[in-house]
């Protein structure tokens, strides 16, 4: 792509805005359309655009495949870990207070005396630290799981691109220093 200066300059200009929009969709998903899935796809498309224009080695320097493949698992861990944290937090508080969010109201009354909150019951995340500044309760729970979804989707999409582009006959020897070394020796 060295011979396409317009594409290089234009993509350099718009990639920061794509990233910014991705983060906006990620962290504003509770208030407007969007959420982790869409944000992940947008962030990944920024990385993929960078990779298409500047080559696979350049984007692999920005987002190393070793890191990306760990982030795939980390996102899911954040999601499931939020669920475990709600269980533990409910235990620490001793009661599932403010359990209005449960759909089945009869079950709520049964749950009142129980010492543990349900898996992914975000009401257990209520806290009174910096009220109005830090999100809490349902808001914090949604924020965390959307973040987990975003991390997983971004890294899976980027990884799929790496896998496809890595098989390209033209780019394969270039991004494979191990092979080049062996060929020289």
């Amino acid at each position: 792509m060295d011979s396409f200066p317009i594409i290089r300059v234009v993509s350099k200009l718009i990639i920061p805005y794509i990233l910014l929009f991705g983060f906006y969709v990620q962290f504003h998903g509770d208030f407007g359309p969007g959420g982790g899935f869409q944000a992940g796809v947008i962030l990944a498309s920024a990385l993929i655009l960078y990779g298409l224009v500047f080559g696979l080695p350049a984007v692999k320097a920005v987002a190393p495949p070793k890191l990306i493949e760990k982030l795939i698992a980390l996102g899911l861990l954040i999601y499931a870990g939020t669920g475990v944290v709600t269980m533990l937090a409910g235990k620490a508080q001793g009661t599932t207070h403010n359990a209005v969010a449960n759909i089945d109201h009869e079950e709520v009354h049964h749950d009142q005396g129980r010492a543990m909150a349900n898996f992914l019951d975000y009401n257990a995340l209520d806290h009174h630290f910096l009220p109005g500044v830090l999100p809490h309760g349902q808001h914090l729970g949604l924020f965390l799981i959307e973040f987990g979804v975003g991390v997983t989707v971004t890294s899976v999409m980027t990884m799929i691109f790496y896998c496809f582009a890595g098989r390209h006959p033209e780019t394969l020897p270039a991004n494979n220093p191990a092979q080049n070394r062996e060929a020289k020796s």
Binding site: I72, G75, A178
Partner: protein
Amino acid sequence: MFVSLFILTLLVVTAISIARIGDLWAAVMFTGIFSFLGACWMLILDAPDVAFTEAAVGAGISTFLMLGTLALAGKKEKPSTESPLVPLIVVGITGAALIYGTLDMPHFGDPNSPVQTSIQPSFVEKSQPDMHGLPNVVTALLGSYRGYDTLGETAVIFTAGIAVILILRRTDSNQSNFRSSKKGAE
């Protein structure tokens, strides 16, 4: 009404073009256009979240991935030697069955359809107090009321990513590990 008809007509035209065109590069571009028209259609149906996803995934990432596949597979479709009669009949019967199935469905926006009546009180009324005033009902539904579902969906994406890595990856570390283990065996 006019805009809906216009977009639906364009969707049909694009679909026929994708099926008819022999140039795979153009076909991939047409699938991107199809997804974008689909996103416009979802927006008319008052589903901005779905439209958003359709635009980002259908028109964005899938087009990228199909272009990546084209780079490996070539840009021209092989001319088919089979007779198109049997596939045409199968597609015709399937399409007729699908259209027959829509005859029973409630009209668009029907207040008496099961979608509007089956859950009482509806999530739209309940979500505001439940979520402490978070306005996006879709996020509240997906993330909180149906958190298990979304956890499962995330696990599906995770599994798909792992599967793609296992099938397609040929990275440096992979090959050098393979080589060194082979050398060790020798």
